[in-house]
Symmetry: C2
Subunit: 364 residues, 2 copies
Amino acid sequence: MKIKTELVHFKEGMELTSGSKLSMFDLMVETYGELNEEKSNGILVCHAFSGNHHAAGVSENEDISGWWDQLIGPSKAIDTDKYFVVCCNNLGGCSGSTGPTSINPETNESYGRDFPLVSVIDWVNSQKMLADYLGIDKWKLVAGGSLGGMQALQWALSFPDSLEKSGIFAAAARSSTQNIAMNEVARESIRKDVNFYDGDYLKHDVKPKGGLKTARMLGHVTYLSEKHMDLKFGRKFQDITSKVGGDVDFEVENYLQYKGEKFSNSFDANSYILMTKAMDSYDAASSFSGDLEKALECIKAKLLIIGFETDWLYPPKRGREIQLAAMNVNVSCSYVTLDGEQGHDSFLFASSRYENIIKTFIQS
Amino acid sequence: MKIKTELVHFKEGMELTSGSKLSMFDLMVETYGELNEEKSNGILVCHAFSGNHHAAGVSENEDISGWWDQLIGPSKAIDTDKYFVVCCNNLGGCSGSTGPTSINPETNESYGRDFPLVSVIDWVNSQKMLADYLGIDKWKLVAGGSLGGMQALQWALSFPDSLEKSGIFAAAARSSTQNIAMNEVARESIRKDVNFYDGDYLKHDVKPKGGLKTARMLGHVTYLSEKHMDLKFGRKFQDITSKVGGDVDFEVENYLQYKGEKFSNSFDANSYILMTKAMDSYDAASSFSGDLEKALECIKAKLLIIGFETDWLYPPKRGREIQLAAMNVNVSCSYVTLDGEQGHDSFLFASSRYENIIKTFIQS
């Protein structure tokens, strides 16, 4: 599989939905496979909140598999022998695209807390600029899970003529009150870190790692299913030799501590806040006074909506809301629920049914 | 209703399940109604993790209703015209009973981080000492919700002859992996507070209020049902005049911020950690290699188990586990699920069905 990683510069910048403007910006882009001559085999995959441009293959330096490597590759569900797959780190992220850790050209210092609020709509707009840069008029498919699924839906709304199909997995047309509440707890743990400095931590040469760790630990609890946690950890005690800390009794505590610690070393706290704010504020029907049917009327793409039974963060009923609205306004829409063993994270993992459904949808 | 608040001193101290010993201790006790001559009308109610001895009526100084005031009082479900209701702040708490903020007689400084781990079994043992002090050989009923329900169950196991009935509401025979995980996230947010000082914050004359606030915010999300949150807040934006902070967009965020802040002013962080550790470590069947049926065999009390449909922290199936085990070993056991609008917190609120079931159970 041919993999190419490229930092694409957009010197024209863009206006954001918040009213702010980025005078210029970069997107860190990774592509898999080759674009055909007609430029008709492009597939855009959109990452979830803590993801990045590295969606498939194994990165050169770090030996890390892409977040959707189980689904993207030669002969896989998203077949790179046939399709040219594109993924970019979203604006406001911390993996190479312009975000809070980037240098603000106005001040020559890192943006930090001054990085403007970004939205799902902004991301889709920037991805459209990327499509134009690549010469792709119409994606074969735009797909993603969780916050990535929201982008796939928004593509169908913002640019109805620029994609054939939209794959919306483990997602919703808007976040629920509980989703917002969980994100706010995570943000609060970051803000309360003594090293946060109201978002200006880079200027103090520190990072609010403790708060970020707690936030990620909470995230992990919401990504996994109750059953999966029970099967994986149960009430097993952590053996003393591999304890990460003296306060840990149960294995599940040790696991969360380990995962949180690891994440806090690599992710940026301001990005965490921006990404979750974008998730919370997303409402596909916001321009239609909350009327989802009216919002979906413009869609020309075929939709594939997949929900996972064990997902309690964005449970299948949230996908069903999109499906029902789509059906009522005559938008072509398939809706499937799968068992999914890993709760919300199920969208990341291959299973034969999941793979077949996606493969068939792309080829249909 | 006659209310009496009393600090009861136990100069003999007690040995804890951890192996540690408290050389002496106090319990802050509140009673409602009057003990009859035969001392046969006593009812013990056990508080949940952040509760205290103030279960009913309105406290003299603070104008705060007791946590079960909707259920305890003249002619209420737990009728103080007929019964003498007793509630105490649990050991390790922060409302008057001996806990981390108390003076350690060995050092003449506050216990702080040195306060020993306490368990549900320890609490029940201390409550038995309180029963002996009051001259009550046999409770008419021991009842509680959540962590209080665990104590009601443990009473039936530890002292089968010392209670007639046990009311176990919104509880479980053991915490699930997810319960433990959520508590660990809350504890981590406390530990990571720069003012925590590894539990020694009192010696530094500060409090880890930020961490405690985040912990409570998370707690609140788990206590409420998703539906209740949706109905109460939905995706409504917070109006600018009553925002608690500039980072708040949605009403639900404002509510959590307010609740968390309030709690962090009154609760002790070490108590938070102790109470949640007690909850996590509780396993009614721990002395029987996890075999709940074997554990319940000794029970002589009649059990009433109530679960609430909207409770996702201790959902009804957790009560059903107790019921099935009880049935299989011929323990008298009634099991009811109620709608409950407030999620896990439903056990705190009166409804006609809930009240009638408890009333009938007591009188049966």
